[in-house]
């Protein structure tokens, strides 16, 4: 039945493209998560009344975040070509998409992390200080655990944006479902392929949303 409805789909190509999309999304998500939490923490801790209150660092980090959030993703990939070439050794394939994916979405996630941290009850941080906690203890045992549901739901939103980014990156040679839909579907006028790729991407988005919501609810003991 599949071959009747979608005559131009080649299953092994499609599976490879799906795998590449997952590969890019998950690796980029890990990178985004780490970099985003670092950026978010820096924003939060160096802000006014913060533990590391520092106007200049705060300004620099905020400027970095705002600039990279302002650049449209498709242009960011092109801008980062020299950097990617230097880092990965090529500008083609899923690996080459990772730097742009991470740099494109980490600032976005960084802001979400900052918002999540701001929601942590100041009194709890004060209580930890009154017990003699080090800043590292406050970060890893108070701020991050207490903001976990918001961090995870923010990561879910970011993951879904990332899936969109991987499709865009695919069009300029990164592989994945975007690449497949564009070259094998759009350019050959095989719209069944475009449609089928869309369905798979939507399913992937649903899967990420479902997992994210599940983890968020599981962790929220408030």
């Amino acid at each position: 039945m599949l071959t009747e409805l979608f005559p131009n789909i080649k299953l092994d190509n499609l599976l490879e493209a799906t795998y590449e999309t997952f590969y890019m999304t998950i690796l980029a998500l890990i990178g985004t998560c780490i970099l985003g939490i670092i950026l978010g923490l820096l924003l939060y801790l160096t802000a006014k009344e913060g533990i590391w209150q520092n106007k200049y660092i705060n300004l620099i980090v905020a400027a970095f975040v705002n600039i990279f959030r302002a650049i449209p993703f498709i242009i960011l990939i092109l801008l980062l070509f020299p950097f990617t070439d230097f880092l990965i050794g090529t500008i083609r394939g899923p690996n080459a998409a990772l730097p742009a994916l991470i740099i494109g979405s980490a600032p976005f996630y960084g802001r979400l992390v900052e918002i999540a941290l701001k929601e942590v009850d100041k009194g709890v941080v004060e209580a930890a200080k009154s017990m003699g906690a080090k800043t590292s203890t406050i970060i890893f045992k108070v701020l991050i655990p207490e903001s976990m549901p918001a961090l995870v739901s923010g990561l879910t939103v970011t993951a879904i944006a990332l899936i969109g980014y991987t499709a865009m990156a695919g069009v300029i040679g990164a592989g994945g479902l975007g690449n497949y839909a564009y070259y094998f579907g759009f350019q050959r006028r095989d719209f069944d392929t475009v449609f089928f790729c869309t369905v798979i991407i939507v399913i992937i988005v649903f899967i990420f949303q479902f997992i994210g919501d599940f983890i968020t609810n599981k962790m929220d003991k408030r």
């Binding site: 009850d121 709890v124 004060e126 209580a127 930890a128 009154s130 017990m131 003699g132 906690a133 203890t137």
Partner: protein
């Protein structure tokens, strides 16, 4: 135990200077429950935060247990804070941790091994009466239970001082009483010095030995609770005393008493921390041939004994009544005043 010298805290807000704590000097003895009372904005919460430097003092000196807190470097301060427990109005528990993990948190900070931690946590849970709730999350607890967790957490590292910042202000009266009883228990069991910030006079009345009244960053009146109760000098203090005693004008309005009870003597009995003669009325009735009729009054219990006023009508032979009055004057610390003589 705790001495505070010339403590100042000035906030600058929009280039305007706000003096939150103004040249405060105070000594608190070991094992005391020291209450600080004031209306909101009096600077009492800032004051208690200056003691463990959650707020940095603008100037002044704080010494706790022979250690000058105000001269410690950040690392020394962290270690010193492990010996100063603190509880909060809104409990400030970590919602992501269970009761036992919340109590274990200060022990983790102090670097205590896992085995010792769980032993100590169990002791503390028993102490505050939360057995069976170890695995509950704060959101599953009532306000009183949350504060018990807060107290257990504050006591985890065997502190010498416990700072209470409006610890009962978010609780209903009954729960407040049970938390106050717990604090008194702890104070007596471990000789812990407690500094308690509140705006409720009945909290002071119930558990404090010493009280300081704060207004506009200054301590306007201080001393032992009963003295401050019986002889309030400043108008703020008088207002606070009225919180629990009713206004003094109401007490003074006894003219209708005199009209309505027109035989025998009417006596006003002042109880000023009387503990040995709590059964004064029945004692008088047994010892002397007088009939006593309680007309009006209010007695409250403080840590130093009962305090308040009773109006009593005494009927019987004049000689007997005079003997009874003399007995009160000579044998007890109750002050007696004859309002109207027998006719």
């Amino acid at each position: 135990m705790i001495s505070i010298e010339g403590l100042n805290k000035i906030f600058s807000l929009n280039k305007k200077k706000i003096i939150a704590v103004d040249d405060l000097t105070l000594t608190i003895k070991e094992g005391e429950i020291y209450g600080v009372i004031g209306y909101s904005g009096a600077g009492k919460s800032t004051f208690v935060r200056l003691l463990n430097r959650l707020e940095e003092p603008t100037s002044g000196k704080v010494t706790i247990d022979n250690r000058e807190i105000t001269s410690l470097n950040p690392k020394q301060l962290r270690l010193a804070r492990q010996e100063i427990g603190m509880i909060f109005q809104h409990f400030n528990l970590l919602w992501s941790r269970t009761v036992e993990d919340n109590i274990a948190f200060p022990l983790e900070i102090a670097g205590i091994s896992k085995a010792d931690r769980s032993k100590r946590v169990q002791e503390l849970i028993d102490l505050v009466g939360l057995s069976g709730r170890e695995k509950a999350y704060p959101s599953q607890l009532s306000g009183g239970q949350k504060q018990r967790v807060g107290i257990a957490r504050a006591l985890a590292n065997n502190p010498k001082v416990l700072l209470c910042d409006e610890a009962t202000s978010a609780l209903d009266p009954e729960t407040t009483n049970s938390i106050l009883n717990l604090l008194v228990d702890i104070n007596q069991k471990f000789g812990l010095t407690i500094i308690l910030i509140t705006h409720e006079m009945h909290v002071i009345r119930k558990i404090c030995n010493q009280v300081a009244v704060m207004e506009q960053g200054k301590i306007v009146e201080q001393g032992n609770v009963l003295d401050v109760f019986t002889h309030p000098k400043k108008s703020v203090t008088k207002k606070f005393v009225e919180q629990i005693m009713g206004s003094s004008e109401a007490d003074e309005d006894i003219s209708n008493l005199i009209d309505n009870y027109n035989d025998g003597k009417i006596l006003r009995l002042h109880f000023l921390g009387e503990t040995t003669n709590q059964a004064l009325i029945s004692k008088l009735a047994k010892k002397f041939d007088v009939e006593l009729n309680i007309l009006q009054g209010k007695i409250v219990q403080t840590q130093a004994g009962g305090y308040g006023t009773l109006f009593v009508q005494a009927k019987g032979g004049i000689e007997e009544i005079n003997k009874a009055v003399r007995f009160i004057q000579e044998e007890t610390s109750v002050e007696v005043e004859v309002i109207r003589d027998a006719n």
